[in-house]
């Protein structure tokens, strides 16, 4: 199971003993908790009003004090939705209280479930599942798994309603259950490189708490741990990063409206312009520079092999073979992105990755015209010295051949011999 492999690779199973969950508010009585919440809200309102009033005071010292209070609140708004401490600042040796890493949304879901569980004496995990199911990101995650959130909700309610499954836990037992859930959610969160424990981690964590009734929900809908985790991960990514991922990641970001800037000559000023090649090709490094292409999931080894092959001094040619949709072009696009980021071996540094458009190359051209275009393109590539030529659907290149003239494949052959 990949998740288990991940767990052992990161050494989390050994680390799990370091984690615990202790939150003072959960130890308070209900009136005490209401007092804390009311006092917090009232003090926020009082301070904010004081900040605004003081900011417009005639006395300069009070005015500065008002501005300082407003800056303080601006910082709070900027960090809205974050827990007390991010996982990036977590101690590597000491025992870790995961209560500090809970996002406010996850904390609120836990607190509500905790209260309901104490009042109704229902299973805490079922209460948490029910509470989380009302959250948008959890619903979206379930829809990604082709599940109807309402049906999952009905199943939870039916399990809670059945007399045989009603448990009578005291506060101590419920606290222990909360700790089990938070520790599992925390480990999921760390595995997914998140900074705080989010509601999606709590939901994924429910799969690992080892509770019979909770397992029954997931078994009824045949939900696998890895599928659920991936669906929740995508759901939370969509929520958080909709503006910054490349537009090639379908459904996550908006198309760039700017016009594409074409860099004619390389940064080292050693190459030459390639007007004919530009006419019949698409510069992938231009697209990568505009964040249009290059995002990749997996294919790490394939990409590395491609980069190594293209970097070797002799015969730096690569042929990517595979079924349609396996990700050949994605690997090439990723190479363009890495070139732009200067994260490639030195032979590929400052190169242009250009995709030849065979359809436009052969469109409306006589055999002589096509040969002349290819000759010119080949010359330009030789002269420029910084072009990596990508020919998609390479098999189509051979189809451009006729009885009395060379095929495009033959015409481009000198490029493949260049370094040999």
């Amino acid at each position: 199971m990949p998740l288990e492999q991940n767990k052992s690779q990161t050494g989390l199973s050994e680390q799990a003993g370091r984690f615990y969950f202790r939150e003072a508010r959960f130890l308070m009585t209900l009136p005490g908790r209401i007092l804390v919440r009311t006092a917090s809200y009232v003090s926020y309102i009082v301070f904010m009003v004081a900040g605004f009033v003081l900011a417009f005071s005639d006395i300069s010292q009070l005015r500065v004090a008002g501005i300082f209070i407003l800056v303080f609140f601006a910082d709070m708004i900027f960090h809205f939705g974050e827990g007390d401490e991010p996982f990036s600042e977590m101690s590597k040796e000491r025992k870790v209280n995961l209560a500090r890493y809970l996002s406010p949304a996850a904390y609120s879901a836990l607190e509500k479930s905790f209260d309901r569980s104490l009042i109704s004496r229902n299973n805490f995990f079922l209460e948490t599942a029910k509470e989380l199911l009302s959250r948008k990101e959890i619903k979206e995650g379930l829809i990604r798994l082709d599940l109807k959130p309402e049906e999952v909700g009905h199943k939870i309610i039916s399990l809670m309603a059945s007399e045989e499954n009603r448990n009578h836990f005291d506060k101590k037992a419920t606290l222990e259950m909360a700790e089990v859930l938070v520790v599992n959610a925390g480990m999921r969160s760390i595995l997914n490189n998140r900074q705080f424990i989010e509601t999606v981690d709590l939901f994924s964590g429910l799969l690992f708490v080892g509770d019979e009734k909770t397992d029954r929900i997931f078994n009824t809908f045949s939900v696998e741990a890895t599928d659920l985790e991936l669906a929740m991960l995508l759901s939370s990514l969509k929520k958080k990063w909709s503006f910054s991922l490349p537009s090639s990641v379908g459904g996550f970001s908006f198309e760039t409206q700017r016009e594409l800037r074409h860099r004619v000559v390389n940064r080292a000023w050693t190459s030459r312009p390639t007007p004919m090649l530009d006419k019949f090709s698409k510069d992938l490094t231009d697209l990568a520079r505009e964040n249009e292409v290059g995002f990749i999931i997996g294919h790490g080894n394939d990409y590395q092999r491609l980069a190594d092959t293209l970097s070797r001094p002799i015969n730096p040619n690569a042929l990517l073979v595979g079924e349609e949709g396996v990700g050949k072009e994605t690997i090439v696009m990723h190479l363009a992105r890495q070139i732009v980021k200067d994260e490639v071996p030195s032979p590929l540094f400052d190169k242009r990755l250009v995709s030849l458009e065979i359809a436009s190359l052969v469109a409306g051209a006589s055999s002589e015209e096509m040969q002349s275009r290819l000759k010119k393109i080949t010359e330009e590539i030789f002269m420029a010295g910084n072009v990596i030529l990508y020919i998609p659907d390479f098999h189509n290149l051979v189809k451009t051949s006729g009885n009395y003239y060379l095929s495009a494949a033959d015409a481009l052959m000198p490029i493949t011999y260049w370094h040999t």
């Binding site: 804390v36 004090a65 000023w269």
Partner: protein, 115 residues
């Protein structure tokens, strides 16, 4: 009740310390990260590293004697211009960073000690 009040006092102290943690530690990380990212993106245009690496290469594959001379001349100009731009940006960055670090201290000093 006492427990709740102690908790509230602790949270108040935490909020204050969290503000300064954000202001000084987190913001410093963001400042330097943004600065380095900005220099990296700027190097896509100014290309100091690349220019140094290809300092004696002629421009645009012009391997004539004049071409080689012009290469060195233009690349020297490019490096000098790049250095000036980097120095200017570094000065602006340091000024903004110093202002950022001193802002809360100045404000607090002004609130409590100004006459």
């Amino acid at each position: 009740m006492n427990f709740s009040l102690t908790y509230l006092a602790g949270r108040f102290a935490y909020r204050i310390s969290d503000f300064f943690h954000h202001w000084y530690i987190d913001a410093s990380k963001v400042f330097f990260h943004k600065f380095i990212s900005f220099l990296e993106s700027l190097d896509q245009a100014i290309a100091m590293r690349v220019t140094l690496k290809y300092f004696f290469q002629p421009l645009f594959k012009d391997y004539t004697f004049i071409g080689r001379i012009l290469g060195v001349v233009f690349r020297t100009g490019r490096i000098l211009m790049g250095l000036a731009i980097y120095a200017f940006i570094l000065a602006i960055f340091l000024a903004i960073y110093a202002l950022w670090l001193s802002a809360p201290v100045i404000m607090l000093f002004y609130i409590f000690y100004a006459r």
